[in-house]
């Protein structure tokens, strides 16, 4: 008998789960539910518009969606238009693949001032997410601060640094292209609490900064010397460090219109301003703890950076779904090998999870294939057991 499985969410994790189920030796019907009218989640609304090649992965998703036993239902919000209980009654298994779409806050004074926003909002706006298209961002001040040392911080910094001509060759939304073409931002300051060796930048994304038409990256080697790194740590981060060091050329004349400053050992203390953001105060930090476990500790001194825009990219968390267990601290659905677990650690019948909502916001598109295979294996094993008399 055909087993019916619902997948909630249509990003990479959802699609790879669908693929694994459709390829399993079991007769299955897979129905995918998506809150937005169109699929692909963060591949569509998260991946930067100038990373076209990466977006080519949607051709694989199209292939999965073409399977005769696959259906897509867009514009359906699970937990609102249809309850988890109703899905449980209608399906043999439900896989939650809703991702980690809420951003973490800094928790500092001034964070709610006009001009202090999450990088997610900015990314969603320039990628044409329907819920963010009417946002506007004040790009009139010469300095923007980007808080965070991951690839999202690099994405938003690069988009702010590109010329209108560079942006026009991407698939950035027209409304964002118009606004960014008028941008008065000349200095983008990317700030991390820890040192350069602890940054989570990918090599490939960092390297892109040396190829920009009219913007140059800046790095002060003093930030590295201040961290007193062990040889093992230096070796581990050798490639990233090589790129950062190539950004350090203090005596060369500055020819580009824009600069991207990579700053480290600065922890956001307070966002300053009356009606809107006028600047941000950082606590200077020093690293404490053993190699590979360094923590930033404030030294007691501060640095004030005037700025008109503060974009925070300090982590993401999932949203709770009514009727599904949720770990409020980690921001994930608790699970073991893909099976959703209750507060006692016991599997909840029929409920499974995959991707960022299950393991937190780490890993890239392909990482979800591994994760999806594990979840699909659990679903198939449980459905087989259930059918065995």
């Amino acid at each position: 008998m055909t087993k019916s499985i619902a997948i909630v969410g249509s990003g990479p994790a959802g699609f790879y789960a669908a693929e694994a189920l459709l390829e399993a030796e079991m007769d299955v019907q897979v129905d995918m539910y998506e809150r937005l009218p169109i699929p692909f989640g963060l591949v569509r609304y998260g991946v930067a518009p100038d990373h076209q090649k990466l977006k080519g992965v949607t051709a694989v998703f199209d292939g999965i969606a073409a399977h005769p036993n696959f259906q897509f239902f867009g514009n359906v919000t699970v937990g609102q238009d249809v309850e988890i209980g109703e899905l449980k009654a209608a399906y043999d298994a439900i896989i939650i693949a809703s991702g980690a779409i809420s951003d973490r806050k800094l928790g500092i004074p001034g964070e709610d001032l006009n001009g202090s926003v999450s990088a997610t909002e900015f990314v969603s706006w320039y990628n044409g997410h329907p819920e963010f298209r009417d946002y506007s961002f004040d790009l009139s001040h010469p300095c923007a601060v980007v808080i965070g040392n991951g690839n999202v911080a690099l994405d938003v910094s690069r988009i702010l640094a590109k010329t209108p001509e560079e942006l026009a060759s991407s698939d950035i939304c027209e409304h964002a292209l118009v606004a960014l073409s008028d941008s008065k931002i000349t200095d983008i300051i990317v700030v991390g609490r820890r040192g350069p060796l602890q940054a989570s930048f990918s090599i490939r994304e960092l390297r892109e900064f040396s190829t920009l038409f009219d913007a140059e990256p800046v790095f002060d080697p003093a930030d590295l010397e201040a961290t007193d790194a062990s040889p093992e740590e230096l070796q581990d981060a050798a490639r990233m460090l090589g790129i950062l060091k190539s950004f350090a050329h203090p005596d060369a004349p500055r020819l580009a219109t824009k600069r991207i400053h990579f700053r480290f050992l600065l922890s956001p203390h307070e966002i300053e301003g009356k009606q809107k953001v006028e600047g941000i105060t950082f606590s200077r930090c020093a690293l404490e703890g053993d190699a590979f476990k360094r923590r930033p500790m404030p030294t007691g001194s501060h640095e004030v950076v005037p700025a008109g825009l503060v974009l925070r990219s300090v982590g993401y968390r999932g949203r709770a779904l009514p009727g599904v267990p949720f770990d409020n601290i980690a921001g994930i659905i608790p699970s073991q090998l893909g099976r959703v677990t209750d507060t006692g650690g016991q599997p909840v019948p029929k409920l499974y999870t995959v991707g960022w909502i299950s393991r937190g916001p780490s890993g890239i598109i392909g990482t979800n294939r591994d994760c999806a295979n594990a979840t699909a294996d659990a679903v198939v094993a449980d459905l087989r057991n259930a059918s065995t008399p």
Partner: protein
């Protein structure tokens, strides 16, 4: 641009890479894997998965015959999309490659 499988894969064939490839661009024979440059989307998910550091970006090995080799071999070999057992002796070869500083 694309990613390239190097000779480090030969006689190891760990295949940890294939289960994170979002576009199934790995092909292989009995000895090793190759990447189809027309399918690879340069995401880099495979690089940290390889125990012998056998995956590099083409811009890091400009002019290498490996670039052509990957294109030619992937065109005629089957897709490998699920993890398989490493070749016998893979662990010993990995240790040797590490000892020689080739990983």
């Amino acid at each position: 641009m694309t990613h390239i499988v190097t000779d480090n894969c030969t006689s190891c064939r760990f295949t940890d890479c294939v289960s994170v490839c979002p576009v199934n661009c790995f092909h292989g024979d009995a000895d090793r894997l190759y990447i189809d440059p027309d399918l690879c989307i340069d995401c880099g998910a495979c690089i940290p998965k390889c125990p012998v550091g056998a995956i590099v970006e083409d811009i890091d090995i400009i002019g290498s015959p490996l670039i052509d080799l990957n294109a030619k071999q992937s065109a005629k070999l089957p897709v490998i999309k699920t993890k398989q057992a490493p070749l016998p002796g893979a662990d010993a070869r990995r240790d040797k490659l590490i000892a020689e500083g080739l990983v």
